[in-house]
C-alpha cells in the first residue's frame, strides 16, 4: 500500500481541523486575557474579599486536570446552568479560556508586582488618581514585563486544546483519528498531525517574539534582544 497518495488525498480534510484548533486557541487566549487581567488587578489592588474570590478561582482551575474540568463543564455545570445546548466547540473554548485566565492572572500579577513601587508614588505625587496611575503608568510597563511569560500560554493552550477531542469537538486530533479509522494508516497520519501542531506552535511563537521586540523599550524590562 502506498501511503503518500492517501495522505495527500486526506490532507485537505486534516487541514480543516486546523481552523477549529486555532479557533479554540484564539477564543481561549482572548477569554483568558479578558478575565485574567482584571483578576490580576483584583489580586494586587483589590479588597480582601476580592483577593479571596480570585484566589479560590485560581486554586480551582489550576488544581484540576484539564480533562476533569472539561467533563465537569460539559456534563454538569453548563447543563446545570441551563446551557446544555452549547456546542462542544463553545464549551471546549470556554473551559480552556477559564483555565487560561487562572494561569494568565498569575503571569499578570507577577508582572504588576515587579513594577517598582516608585512608579506609583511618582504618579500619585503628580495628582494622578489610582486608576489613572494604573492605566497610564503601571499597566504599560507590566504588560511588557508579562509578554514573554504570556507567550508561553500560546503553546500551552495549543497543545491542551487537543483534549477537547474527549467531548467531541471536531478539531485537529478528532479529524486525525477519524482519518486513521478510515484509512487504517496510523503512524504517518499521527506524524502529519504532529507536524502541523509543531508548525502552528513555531509560527505563533515567532509572531509573539516579533511583538516582544516591537514593543521593547531601550534599557527597560526583559524585552527580547
Amino acid at each position: 500500500m502506498d501511503v503518500l497518495p492517501i495522505l495527500i488525498e486526506w490532507f485537505p480534510y486534516l487541514l480543516s481541523g486546523v481552523a477549529s484548533t486555532l479557533g479554540l486557541v484564539l477564543v481561549a487566549l482572548v477569554l483568558g486575557l479578558l478575565l485574567g487581567l482584571p483578576m490580576a488587578l483584583g489580586q494586587v489592588y483589590g479588597s480582601r474579599p476580592v483577593r479571596w474570590v480570585v484566589g479560590v478561582y485560581v486554586w480551582f482551575f489550576r488544581g484540576l486536570p484539564i480533562l476533569v474540568l472539561l467533563f465537569l463543564f460539559w456534563f454538569g455545570i453548563f447543563p446545570g446552568l441551563g446551557l446544555g445546548d452549547l456546542s462542544a466547540f463553545v464549551v471546549g473554548a470556554v473551559v480552556l479560556g477559564l483555565r487560561g485566565a487562572a494561569y494568565q492572572s498569575q503571569i499578570f500579577r507577577g508582572a504588576i508586582q515587579s513594577v517598582g513601587e516608585g512608579q506609583m508614588i511618582a504618579a500619585r505625587s503628580l495628582g494622578m488618581s489610582r486608576v489613572t496611575a494604573i492605566r497610564s503608568v503601571i499597566l504599560p510597563q507590566a504588560m511588557r514585563i508579562a509578554l514573554p511569560g504570556w507567550s508561553n500560554e500560546y503553546p500551552n493552550i495549543l497543545t491542551d486544546s487537543a483534549v477537547c477531542y474527549a467531548i467531541g469537538v471536531v478539531e485537529l486530533l478528532t479529524i486525525t483519528s477519524r482519518i486513521v479509522t478510515q484509512t487504517h494508516i496510523t503512524m504517518p497520519v499521527y506524524l502529519t498531525a504532529a507536524g502541523i501542531f509543531i508548525i502552528l506552535n513555531y509560527g505563533g511563537l515567532k509572531a509573539l517574539h516579533r511583538l516582544e521586540r516591537r514593543i521593547a523599550i531601550p534599557g527597560f524590562g526583559t524585552g527580547a534582544m
Binding site: G116, G118, Q119, I121, A122, A123, R124, S125, L126, G127, M128, S129, T132, S136, V137, P140, Q141, R144, I217, P218, G219, F220, G221
Partner: protein
C-alpha cells in the same frame, strides 16, 4: 509676618510607624518664593515629613494648608493639591516606559486634560528650563542620574506647582552629577520657586536657603538662617551634627 505671603502652613504633624514615633509635632510656615532646607541625621523623619505634606504618607494628626485650603483630610481633592505640590525623589522615579518628553507630558495630558500640542509645547519648555531639551526623545535608562533628576524636576515644574518638595534629590548622585542638579535648583530658587529641600548638601543650604531647619528625633531642634545656625554660639546642635559628618568623611 504678613499672612498673605504664606503659601504652605504645616502644623503639629505627628506620624508613627508601628509604635515608633517618627514625627513628634512639626510645625512651620513657608512663604512664597522661600527655600527651606531640612538637615539632620537619617531616621529623624525628614523624608516622612515631606510625604506627610502631600499626603503620600498621611500624618496621624496635624494639619497642612496650601494657600489657606486644608490639604489634610481633603478626600478626593488631594489629587488637586498634589498638582500644586510638586515632588522630586532621591531615585527620580521617572516613568521607565516613557521618553523624557513623555514623562513630562503625561500628567499634563491625564491630569490637567491638556491637548496634545499644548502639552508637548509645555513639556519642551520645562525640559529647556532644566537644560534637557536635547534629550527629549531618550528613555530614562539612557540618561545619567543627573540628567534623569533634571527631567524629574521638569516633570514637577510642568504642573505649575506652588511649592516643590525635594526629597534628597542628590543623594543617589556622584559629586559631578550632584552639581548639575544643584545648579538647576539654585536657578529655580533665584526665579522665585518655593522649595522645601531635604538634603545633606551644606554648601547648597548655605548659599540658597532662606531658612534651615535642623531636625532631630522627630522634631525641629533648631531653626534659622544658615548663617545664624552655623555661627551664632547659642546654636550648637546642628554644628555638632555637621562636625560629626565632616570627621566621618575625613576618616
Amino acid at each position: 509676618m504678613n499672612n498673605n505671603d504664606i503659601v504652605l502652613r504645616v502644623e503639629d504633624i505627628h506620624k508613627s510607624f508601628g509604635g515608633n514615633e517618627v514625627l513628634r509635632g512639626v510645625s512651620f510656615d513657608v512663604r512664597r518664593g522661600e527655600t527651606k532646607v531640612f538637615i539632620g541625621p537619617s531616621g529623624t523623619g525628614k523624608s516622612t515629613l515631606l510625604r506627610c505634606i502631600n499626603q503620600l504618607t498621611p500624618p496621624d494628626c496635624g494639619n497642612v494648608w496650601l494657600d489657606g485650603e486644608e490639604v489634610t483630610n481633603s478626600g478626593a481633592r488631594i489629587n488637586y493639591f498634589r498638582q500644586k505640590i510638586g515632588m522630586v525623589f532621591q531615585n527620580f522615579f521617572l516613568f521607565d516606559h516613557l521618553t523624557a518628553l513623555k514623562n513630562v507630558e503625561l500628567a499634563l495630558l491625564k491630569v490637567r486634560g491638556m491637548g496634545k500640542a499644548e502639552a508637548r509645547e509645555k513639556a519642551l519648555t520645562e525640559l529647556r528650563q532644566v537644560g534637557m531639551e536635547d534629550w527629549a526623545d531618550h528613555y530614562p535608562a539612557e540618561l545619567s542620574g543627573g540628567q534623569a533628576q533634571r527631567v524629574s524636576i521638569a516633570r514637577a515644574l510642568a504642573m505649575d506647582p506652588d511649592v516643590i518638595l525635594f526629597d534628597e534629590p542628590t543623594s543617589a548622585l556622584d559629586p559631578e552629577l550632584t552639581r548639575e542638579v544643584l545648579e538647576v535648583m539654585k536657578k529655580l530658587a533665584r526665579e522665585g520657586m518655593t522649595m522645601l529641600v531635604v538634603t545633606h548638601e551644606m554648601g547648597f543650604a548655605c548659599s540658597v536657603a532662606n531658612e534651615v531647619l535642623f531636625m532631630e528625633n522627630g522634631v525641629v531642634a533648631e531653626q534659622g538662617s544658615p548663617d545664624l545656625l552655623l555661627h551664632d554660639p547659642r546654636f550648637t546642635r546642628m554644628k555638632d551634627f555637621i562636625g560629626r559628618i565632616d570627621s566621618r568623611m575625613e576618616d
